[in-house]
């Protein structure tokens, strides 16, 4: 399931909910991303999505992860709008029969979200605002999975 929200969320509650009633799943892995203050240089993050399109594009990759890592289930929640330092910005949970697949799927989904998912991120700080684009490391991170796919 993919969801975008303007509202703050509690990762612990989401994890509890995601685990509820699972009796045939041995592993749940999660990742929670927090908005960084960067020593005061980022007062607020602003995340923009393209409603409908963003969910659909993320859904395609999640469907790919579901097959590739033989997941039992996945859940992705991403904040949009204005986000303060220390607030959770993204939550990814993956459920699989064994831990390796759950870890790897979570890693894969986050690498995708950082570099290719339809979001636009602006940092507001004391020196004004700037749009953030993926770093070289983010591109290298997602490229790892392309390589593994073709080999």
């Amino acid at each position: 399931m993919i969801r975008l929200t303007f509202d703050p969320f509690d990762p612990g509650a989401l994890l509890t909910e995601f685990c509820r009633g699972r009796t045939e799943v041995g592993a749940v892995a999660t990742f929670t991303g927090l908005a960084r203050a960067d020593a005061g240089s980022t007062a607020v993050l602003e995340l923009e999505a393209y409603p409908g399109f963003s969910e659909a594009e993320i859904g395609k990759i999640a469907a790919e992860a579901q097959v590739r890592f033989k997941l039992a289930d996945h859940f992705i929640l991403h904040r949009i709008g204005r986000i303060g330092p220390g607030e959770p910005i993204v939550f990814v949970a993956t459920a699989a029969r064994h831990r390796r697949a759950a870890f790897e799927a979570c890693d894969f989904l986050m690498d995708y979200l950082k570099s290719r998912a339809p979001f636009w991120k602006k940092e507001h700080g004391p020196d004004g605002a700037r749009w953030v684009e993926p770093r070289a490391e983010d591109h290298a991170d997602i490229a790892r999975w392309d390589k593994e796919r073709s080999s």
Partner: protein
């Protein structure tokens, strides 16, 4: 009449986010946007800027219908 949407830095450059513009082709729309606002024209031509027509990414030129939604998408970054 196409509905043109700008995202991320593109809407900052243009000073608008959504506009109705009459254009029969995507190429003609680009030409018109660049003629009206050279700064936006330059920003749209930068590498990594993608275009979605009715929420589907397209490459190259395409015909626009009366109700086509044209979204210009600069490089993306989440998480």
């Amino acid at each position: 009449m196409a509905r043109v949407l700008l995202f991320g830095r593109l809407s900052d450059v243009a000073g608008w986010r959504e506009r109705e513009i009459e254009s029969p082709f995507l190429s003609a729309l680009r030409t018109r946007l660049a003629a009206d606002d050279p700064g936006l024209g330059e920003a749209l031509a930068r590498p990594g800027v993608q275009v979605a027509l009715d929420q589907v990414i397209v490459r190259g030129d395409a015909a626009l219908n009366a109700r086509t939604e044209v979204a210009f998408l600069p490089p993306m970054s989440g998480g």
